[in-house]
């Protein structure tokens, strides 16, 4: 469907069946994005699954309005924003009620061969370590950029910032990361 047709479709009142179909398309297209974001924010599969499920439930609840107000623009930033807010609530809740880890988590499937990874192992560990120390907004923007492949404009919408502010945020995040790696 062309952008103008999508815009027109989004503005027209939809039947329940049409909305459900549109939501299903959205869900199938972005399940991996929401799950990846959730996983990198919470650090384990169980909570990432719960957070993903909750994000899609919230999205379903507000889908009609979001679709109407999007004027045909992609809804991925809106979805990621929901996951972002839920992840923030999750960490706030954990800070209030800290609990010990219960058990180990199972690893995810991995698209790369072991040999390739071993070569860059220490470097990757160092990047991950420094990434974890970045301020939240910088770290979250880098997750959106590199794990989800989002554009500056999409990240701006997901974080509720201007395009310019987001460009600066990402630039500063990478600069800080590089400085910390040099030290």
């Amino acid at each position: 469907m062309s952008a103008s047709k999508e815009e027109a479709a989004a503005r027209e009142p939809a039947t329940k069946a049409e909305l459900d179909r549109a939501f299903e398309d959205l869900y199938r297209a972005h399940l991996r994005d929401v799950y990846s974001y959730a996983y990198y924010r919470v650090g384990n599969h169980h909570d990432a699954e719960d957070l993903t499920e909750q994000a899609f439930l919230q999205a379903y609840r507000h889908f009609e309005r979001a679709r109407r107000e999007s004027n045909g623009r992609p809804l991925r930033p809106w979805l990621i924003r929901i996951a972002h807010n839920l992840a923030s609530n999750y960490h706030r809740d954990r800070a209030r009620h800290p609990q010990a880890a219960l058990d180990a988590v199972e690893p995810p499937s991995h698209p790369y061969g072991t040999e390739q990874i071993v070569e860059g192992r220490e470097e990757l560990r160092a990047v991950i370590d420094r990434l974890d120390r970045l301020p939240d907004d910088r770290r979250d923007a880098l997750i959106m950029r590199f794990a989800l492949g989002m554009s500056n404009r999409e990240i701006a919408r997901a974080l509720g910032r201007t395009d310019g502010a987001t460009k600066v945020l990402i630039h500063r995040a990478i600069k800080q990361l590089e400085e910390e790696l040099e030290n």
Binding site: Y27, L31, R32, Y35, Y39, Y40, R41, V42, G43, N44, H45, H46, D47, A48, E49, D50, L51, T52, E53, Q54, F56, L57, Q58, Y60, R61, Y90, R94, Q99, A101, L102, D103, V105, P107, P108, S109, H110, G113, T114, I117, V118, G120, R121, L124, R125, V127, I128, D129, L131, D132, R139, L142, I143, R145, F146, A147, L148, G149, I174, L177, E178
Partner: protein, 111 residues
């Protein structure tokens, strides 16, 4: 920051933050939950409508009387959401990007 080192760092970030494939059963789980919630809300509305007299049905056409059905839908939705929240709180796991990335590395780099 030189262009070269920035590109190298961006490549490292792309390697460290690979997209994660969701488990196969997650899609089924989310779809089941969504279906259950919408069916629950529909059932609430249906049972309530069956109990109504003609007079009440007429009264329902007045938007000032729409609070009850809306509340039924909201209750169904919130109940479903609450179940998910309970599920989340029941299981606590290590948090944060480091834990996530360590899991990725652990899978391919035993020891």
């Amino acid at each position: 920051m030189s262009e070269r080192s920035r590109l190298d760092l961006e490549q490292l970030l792309a390697d460290a933050l690979r997209p994660i494939e969701p488990p196969d059963d997650l899609a089924t789980r989310v779809e089941s939950t969504l279906t259950a919630i919408t069916e629950q809300a529909a059932a609430e509305l249906s049972s309530w409508a069956e109990d109504m007299s003609e007079w009440e049905l007429d009264a329902l056409r007045d938007p000032r009387n729409w609070v009850r059905p809306v509340a039924a839908v909201a209750a169904g939705t919130l109940a479903g959401g609450a179940l998910v929240v309970v599920g989340m709180r029941r299981r606590r796991r290590p948090a944060g990007i480091r834990a996530a990335a360590e899991n990725v590395l652990r899978q391919v780099l035993p020891g």
